[in-house]
Amino acid sequence: MEPVRSDVDCVARSLSEPSAFELIFDRHYGSVHRYLHRRAGRDLADELAAETFALAFERRTSCRATSTVLPWLYGIATNLLRHRRRAEIRQLRAYARTGVDRWAAYEDETAGRVDGSAYDRPLARALATMRPRERDALLLYALADLSYEEIACALEVPVGTVRTWLHRARRTAQRELTTETDVFPLATSGADLHG
């Protein structure tokens, strides 16, 4: 039995043996789909997750990862989402308005109503209100669990830009949450700039 190959080994190998890329799919499809599902609902996730890997394969020569390729894949998925921004925002706004999430499929049928508790709707509205790149940076941080450097890589911007976007995203979110719930504590300035 062959030893397990690292992500970058698979990608390197796939340059001359394209079928090696299927291993990348097996390893990471679930994570990419989940990220897309949480951002834009199941239907879009089904479509864009497929496109992400097809595109990643086509662009595999430009993969700069040094160990795991997941951040690179998240970057591709996020850029695909940019073209579906309107769909994503429509969902978020409707979710914020009604409290009913019709786009995601939940493990627990009722979870759509209780997931995230009282903050669901303001979170959705905050996300809808943010600028697209701020939303991308925040959700790559919160949902995809990327570091600032990895986000910078995925979105092809300097780390400083990522910090700025995250700062603004959090500020927008704070505003929405405070307005909506009257319970959320105001941030102390400067405390959010960490990574």
Partner: protein, 399 residues
Amino acid sequence: MDKLDDLFRGFRSGVTAPSEDAVSAARELLLRGIGSFDHPRPSRPRRRRAFVAVAAAILVGGLLVTPAVGIGGRLLALIESAPGPPDVQAPVWSSGGRQIAFLSRRGESNFDLDVVNADGSGQRTLIHGATREPPSWSPDGLKIAFESLRDNGVYTVNADGSGRQRLARDSKDPAWSPDGRTIAFFSGAKIYLRNADGSEHRTLTRPQAGVRDLAWSPDGRKLAFLQGKGGCGPSCHDLYVVNSDGSGLRNLTAKLAVGIRLGLGPASDPAWSPDGQMIAFARLNPGLGEPIYVVKADGSRLRNLTPKPVGAYADPAWSPDGRKIAFVSDRDGNSEVFVMNANGKGQRNLTRNPAFDADPAWSPDGRKIAFASKRDGKYGIYVMNADGSGQRRLAQHSP
């Protein structure tokens, strides 16, 4: 802001795993894209193809008969044992017949774009870091369009190496139109047409999976290309033609699929006949080798030109007068350049050499054929007269 971040971390955290249908559809899409590369052939010229893993191709064909979606371990092992890719490949004549552009390998998929005069003098490198996609000359012989590893873009460069310019990033397969005014290429799985002076561009088609190998008809009115075909295995394509205004998109090989089992292989690069009436390509049929087919541009008269002997054939290249087709075959035991009449008769081995020979390219006056060979122990670009005599080396790979 930890608390805020935590809240977002919980956003829709209870979502389900992807459905089986979604996973298989995604895998199928990926495999179609993978299939458009199939064996580790580095060269995928617009009209000719390096004939690297010929033996593997036949074996692959045999293996693919057993129904299996996706590529299994045995197949992988076969692909791994195939001979390595050539270091020099894809000779392309300028339309005046005075220069030949070709690719010279530097790394696994990293090539130099070289040019040599037709008499073998003046070999020079124009560009480092090109991909294995053969270059496309402008009809006036002054520029070359090529694929760069740099931002996976499509670029042009002057024939003296100066003036490199990017046409588009994340694009592939540049093809200069016969009138020199337009460059076609793929970007985001769509065909783009861009004026050669950069003044404007337009999209010709909607995104399609697994597109490759763009080729203008000689009158510049149509484009042929390959597109992945779903449901028939990972290495499966159809030949499409579209008018240069985007109308009339048509699948020319839909008929071929009927009655052929799982495991259809790739069609080769479309090669237009000089009169624009026919297109030649090679097709992998499990158990039937890889014959060369021709079809009329309207989809009629689909014919197998090389039914016997069964073997692997590839790289069909029409002579400029349209009377003959050069091609590559392994039927004599190793990869050789052959020629036949355009009706499939009179097949003759031209190179007759135990070393690897492939990638035939007719000179514009039809008197010579350039090709890639490893006969001197190293890969080089060679030329011979159209009857196979006078074989000599023009350029060599220098690592």
